[in-house]
Amino acid sequence: MNTLKKFLPFLGVVITLAVHLLVPDSDEHPDAEKPYFAWILYFFLGATFFLGVLSLKVQKLGKYFERTGPFWFGTGVVVIFFNVVIGKLALIPVLFFPKFDNILAMFFEDGVLILKCILYSTRLLLTGLFFGTVVGFVTGVCLGFSAKTYYWLNPYIKLLGPIPATVWIPIALTIFDTPYAASVFIVALAVWFSIALMTSSAIQAVPNSYYEVARTLGASPAFQIFRVGIPAAMPSIFLGVFYGIISAFLALMTAEMFGAKYGIGWYIIWQKAMMVYSGVYAGLIVIAVYCTLTLTLLFKLRDKILNWQKGIVKW
């Protein structure tokens, strides 16, 4: 039974491939240059078989596939369903719902451009994230620790913060020389607010007794801020980064629609304008994979930094 589970992903690919090869595509779809979907399936066929064999030997991998095997098989069924509805029977308009071969063709034939777009977006995201996080963190720490700063600044921040960052695009474009700088500003702004808010409220929520303990141990004010207040607030600050990145994705895609030369957001808009829907789907796939990988990376980072939280908070 458990051996079967380890080969369920492989079986999923087998039936997906069988259906794909045995049932001909609908004539309504334009033909792709090469059978890309079949190629991909061959690749997965080999990969899942190899992993299946490997998981018989490697304990950890075996456990993983015992748990996820049924899911991967189910994924095969879902792929078959869409392949039949779209590719084989063309039940929905082929212009808006291209078959898999044509979507994959974008990666094979337009791959360099897509890669360039990914790099461009990454540069924008990282730059914006960097400035937004640093400024947001500093703002939050100042608001959290200094009652004066809080008094004088917080009303404005409360007023301006909730405005979606993308609304500032027209203004950012006039303030900054280049569209790129404006885009960085918009992404940074999106990140800034959620980090500043989560940081300041988390710091204010730190129990007073934490500081009292530090004071009786002879801790200086700086020690109380950096070694007590900020670490205590870290889980919430991280939550702020998490929300910040999500709004950064949104801001990123929107910002790229203005005067950008490359970028995933730009790519999708451009493909849509040219009515190349296979390009739109390729872009969506890139975004989905991209965001998931970024968040996974973020969670890994969190587990490293906040490993003391394991057992207290479950995400």
């Binding site: 303990v213 141990l217 002879g218 801790a219 200086s220 003391w308 057992g311």
Partner: protein
């Protein structure tokens, strides 16, 4: 001698003079947590504070620690008025209050790090971890340990800096009877070894008798020192000693004399 009447010339004493501390509750009423407390505590003595719940024991310790400003009067150490906390006064809080993001060892060594003297005293940390029986748990996080273990860690954190004065707020409250007795002996030997002035809140009359030179009996509403009992017995004391009975009787009568309606949280 611990006395209720202050004399100003004794430099080495902790002097508490006409100490009044009031709080304003959320409802706006004024709560008098300490209503004119006068005490003198000799250097190196072991003082226990005992009294009904809510009579101001924690408030008094916090005043000595300098965690809050008095409403009037004050606490003087070596003749100097206490205005803020300092590492000369260690405080083991009623709640363990360990930092959840630090391991037990890092929690215990936090004060040394804050004062930049960790390197010289790293050995002390291990020694105190052993003393409070937490060897093997250095790398654990507070939420992985029991309440009693956390309380012992918090005790070690207060002890490790070798403060001149140790303020202990029911440090052994969460411990079982056996660990408790063992910890009492540890506290006694630390007291002997370092000549620390100990001021300890407890609800346990026998614990107070076993450990202290002086027992300060407090009463509630208005919160005041009811009486100070000098326990004139040599150490080590024997828990089953006959004389304990007389002292115990005296204290229990005093607590009754405090005239309070017996409250359910009254620990006797």
């Amino acid at each position: 001698m611990v006395t209720e009447n202050t004399t100003t010339d004794a430099k080495d004493f902790i002097q508490i003079k006409d100490l009044v501390k009031t709080f304003v509750s959320n409802k706006g009423e004024t709560i008098t947590a300490l209503n004119g407390v006068n005490l003198e505590i000799p250097k190196g003595s072991f003082v226990s504070l005992i009294g009904p719940s809510g009579c101001g024991k924690t408030t008094l310790l916090r005043q000595i620690a300098g965690l809050a400003a008095p409403t009037s009067g004050g606490v003087f150490i070596n003749g100097k008025k206490v205005t803020k906390p300092g590492s000369d006064r260690g405080f083991a809080f009623q709640q363990a209050t360990l930092y959840p993001w630090l391991t037990i060892r890092d929690n215990i060594s936090l004060g040394l790090r804050a004062r930049h003297i960790y390197k010289e005293h790293a050995k002390d940390v291990d020694e105190f971890i052993e003393t409070v029986g937490l060897k093997g748990f250095e790398k654990s996080y507070p939420h992985e340990l029991s309440g009693g273990m956390n309380q012992r860690a918090s005790l070690a954190r207060a002890l490790v800096g070798h403060p001149e004065i140790l303020l202990l707020d029911e440090p052994l409250g969460a411990l079982d009877a056996f660990t408790r007795m063992a910890m009492q002996d540890e506290i006694l030997s630390l007291w002997k070894k370092y000549k620390t002035t100990m001021i300890m809140v407890t609800h346990d009359v026998d614990e107070a008798l076993y450990l202290s030179d002086y027992i300060v009996v407090m009463k509630a509403r208005p919160s005041k020192v009811e009486s100070v009992i000098h326990v004139d017995l040599s150490y080590p004391r024997v828990r089953t000693q006959d004389v304990f009975v007389n002292y115990r009787k005296q204290i229990l009568e005093l607590l009754d004399f405090a005239g309070q309606v017996q409250e359910p949280e009254y620990y006797l």
